[in-house]
Amino acid sequence: MSQDLKDQTPARVVEHYVDPTPFNPAVAEDLTPEQERYYQASQWKIMWWKFKRHKPAVWSAYILLIFYLCVPFAEVIAPYDANSRNADYLYAPPQRVHLFHEGSFVGPFVYGMSSEIDLETVQWVFTEDRSDVQRIRFFCRGEEYKFWGLFDADFHLFCPAEGGALYLLGTDRLGRDQLSGLVYGARLSLTVGLVGVTISIVLGLFFGGIAGYFGGILDNLIQRLIEIMRSLPELPLWMALSAALPVTWGPVSIYFGLTIILGLLDWPGLARAVRSKLLSLREEEYAKAAVLMGAKPQRVITRHLLPGFTSHIIASATLSIPAMILGETALSFLNLGLRRPAVSWGVLLNEAQDITIVTIYPWLMAPVIPIIIVVLAFNFLGDGLRDAADPYK
């Protein structure tokens, strides 16, 4: 036995070693600077970090930012007014932007167009005049407008050459510029969702808050109401409600009427989310502690419960904005929503209602593209926000 042990002892004995630096017994609990930064950051900061990691959402935010720039600066960005007509260019096709004229560089320019009526098909035929070079001017003075309806100005980001025409996305049946229509249309189409969502958040917070905080019969009643509202097809009701808007109303009243209609039917989803969040947060230890320490309901709700789900509300609100944008578009498309002189993407699409016209003048469908991009961007942004809303997961 002892013989065996002797055989197994290693030939080289490891030297005894003591580390001279003092030993910190709490080393396992020490944090790296990075961890420390994370644990000390506020909830919103962590959400921001998490959101930044969601690349499609960040890109969508940039894209939306660009689109929303059209809202305050529509007059400057658009080369024409959305309703100014040009009888010489009815149903003009989109012009192509060229850089080189006969081999030499001129900068961005378009060729002039001359129109002729084809008596057989009764259509305007546009031919490019290859000798008429119309350079696009930048940061220039062009058509006059009233900036925000307040003061006169004529400054544009870009405008057609003096005496020339510039229709990059073509014109409609009255010779109105499509591109300018899109830029002005963004103003209404993009804000409809924001105003509508605000209404829906207010209603959702109110009903969801009552149901979640007080419970009992009130909760039951609101729950049933939410269920019924959610089981109704939205669009036919939107149609009926907007058909009820008086014809005599001006564009501004119609616009606010529409946003209220869109918000009125959207709140049940939010209310349900608020209610379930409130119910679960009410049971949390910190909420109980606050109640035990004598906090009044108002303080409990605003200081302790609300911060717990604001992020969720923002995320789900973002996800319901595209539905509202589409709702407005659909209603205006069907002649039930906004009408000229108000311009939105749905109003522009109204021109594309007749399929025979669209096959001849396909550029009338141009508003489809920004609508799809914006809706897609809002969906990605909402996804990113939803993932970031629960930063501790």
């Binding site: 109401l225 269920e227 019924i228 959610r230 089981s231 109704l232 097809p233 939205e234 669009l235 036919p236 009701l237 149609m239 009926a240 409600l241 058909a243 009820a244 008086p246 595209p322 589409l326 578009t329 659909a330 498309f333 069907l334 002649n335 039930l336 699409l349 594309a352 209602q353 399929i355 669209v358 096959t359 396909p362 469908m365 489809v368 609508i371 799809i372 809706v375 897609l376 969906n379 990605f380």
Partner: protein
């Protein structure tokens, strides 16, 4: 099970009452009614003769009564000028614009509306089920990425715009008209095999158009549900025991993932019905959609009210079917316990 069905059906009665009240309220919102507007118009051009007739009509349809009485008369719980004669008794009301009973105006469009919605739901099921399973079992494959991308685009493209684009594309590149329900030569012809085929061919495009966003949503849900299940321990156990991949998938995780799938279809039905209304308008399909639009524009209140109610009932029935299916699949629900989502 019988008890569950019975309870579920009884629950629909108060729901229907609330919905009909809401709808009646909405169609009564515009100032005045069809006949008062007509009278005002006739007064304006100085024609007094027809006014008496219109006044008679106003009485006939009890438009001069207060709101709640009119509502009760409309649904048939209160005696009107002709006794109890409302929706419950099978009188759907009178269309002022067409000067015909509502029944005759919308009657021909109802079957197609039902067929179209049913076909769409079927399409959503049939397409999203295999694709969802494929995407989940082959996560991060090229196919999965492709379907995810398609799904996002499908979700973002509103169906009436998709209808517009398809109409344009078919017209442009195939010289084909896909609007309407059948080829023009079959209109007013007696029913034949060729006519049936033509109708079916014309149903395909609207079904796809209406169903696309729903399908995209369902694929995403099924994929997420199934992925959650696939990462659970029992799957690993099954695999360790030597179960074949396919058998394993069908036997456990799929059965778990299918419940929320069916419940979600129920939640999807309202938006599908919404879609069918506007797509029908764009593609000029003879469903209730275009009739509703014109009725709303001309304030033909009984007609629009009936269509709104019909659409709502259609949705409710769809949700009922999906609830019943769920009860068949999941004993926890039909035994009245709490459903796991």
């Amino acid at each position: 099970m019988l008890y569950y069905i019975l309870r579920r059906l009884l629950l629909m009665i108060p729901t229907l009452l609330v919905i009909s009240l809401l709808i009646f309220f909405i169609i009564e919102l515009p100032t005045g009614d069809y006949i008062t507007n007509q009278i005002a118009a006739l007064r304006a051009i100085g024609e007094e003769a027809s006014i008496a007739k219109l006044e008679f009509l106003r009485k006939e349809f009890s438009l001069d009564k207060p709101f709640f009485e009119r509502y009760l008369i409309w649904i048939g719980l209160w005696p009107g000028p002709h006794g109890l004669d409302g929706l419950i008794q099978g009188n759907w009301g009178w269309s002022f614009e067409f000067d015909k009973p509502v029944e005759q105006v919308v009657g021909p469009t109802l079957p197609l509306t039902i067929v179209l919605n049913f076909a769409t739901i079927l399409f959503v099921y049939i397409v999203s089920f295999p694709i969802g399973i494929y995407s989940a079992t082959r996560q991060y494959s090229w196919g999965d990425y492709g379907f995810t991308l398609l799904g996002y685009i499908g979700l973002a493209t509103p169906n009436f715009l998709l209808a517009l684009l398809l109409l344009y594309g078919f017209n442009r590149w195939f010289g084909m008209s896909i609007g309407g329900l059948m080829d023009p030569q079959y209109i007013d012809q007696p029913w034949s095999v060729d006519k049936m085929l033509s109708v079916l061919a014309h149903l395909i495009v609207p079904t796809i158009v209406i169903g696309t966003s729903g399908t995209a949503a369902m694929i995403r849900r099924l994929r997420a549900n199934l992925l959650d299940e696939l990462h659970k321990q029992y799957v690993t156990t099954g695999r360790a025991k030597g179960l074949k991949e396919n058998q394993l998938l069908v036997k456990y995780p799929l059965r778990m993932a299918i419940n929320p799938f069916i419940a979600d279809i129920g939640n999807l039905i309202p938006s599908l019905v919404s879609g069918s209304v506007i797509v029908s308008v764009v593609m000029s399909l003879p469903t209730v959609g275009p009739v509703l639009l014109s009725a709303l524009q001309s304030q033909d209140q009984f007609l629009s009210g009936f269509i709104l109610l019909f659409v709502a009932v259609l949705t409710l029935i769809g949700m009922l079917i999906s609830d019943l299916l769920l009860a068949v699949l999941d004993p926890r629900i039909r035994l009245g316990g709490r459903a796991a989502s």
